[in-house]
């Protein structure tokens, strides 16, 4: 699954650590999502969508 997390984070000038703090996960988790090594659980995907004030579909793309 592809995602726009890195772009969205960069638009807000957040580091991976900043985003991880806000999501209450490790920086490694954020890095794994951005590099496509891990698809987040549904609760985490909702948390990410809430944080960026977007829908899950706007952040995570199939394929």
């Amino acid at each position: 699954m592809k995602n726009r997390l890195k772009v969205l984070r960069a638009e807000r000038n957040w580091s991976q650590a900043d985003l991880a703090d806000q999501l209450k996960v490790s920086r490694q988790s954020v890095n794994a999502i951005e590099t496509g090594k891990y698809d987040p659980s549904l609760p985490l995907a909702f948390k990410i969508a809430d944080l960026f004030e977007m829908t899950i579909e706007q952040i995570f793309l199939p394929g």
Binding site: S26, Q28, S29, Y38, P43
Partner: protein, 144 residues
Amino acid sequence: MTGGKDGPGLWRKLCRLIKPDWLFALLLLFGIGLLALGDPGTSDSLGSPAPLFPRLLLLIGIVFFLALFATFGAALDRRKLDDYYFQLMANGAIIAVVTTLFTNMIWGMLDDLLPALSGDELAGALIGSWSLGYFFYRFRGLNA
């Protein structure tokens, strides 16, 4: 793995034939069978084989309660750990179980050439392969 013009359809149909509930029920029976058929060993103090039935009941009881305890432990881990790390550990555990089973099987087939594996050695294989599995997924990613 999909094979030829039948493509993913055939593979998917084959996968659907395997019902996990039935598979794990069979595995449970197989596990109990292995416990029942296992070498009862000898009691150190008496020097005679331990009685089979009480030993089997004790083994099944201990396995059941430890599995229950581990289930609660894993649920706690899941709440406290990052989902990412929990998935790494869970996937690593699958690698560990499969690796240990096959190690034991291969060792069993080479019975004449190699000395029997002790419980500690099997535990070492399990823990080591769990760690390896964790790192494989850590570096390659959970989607690899």
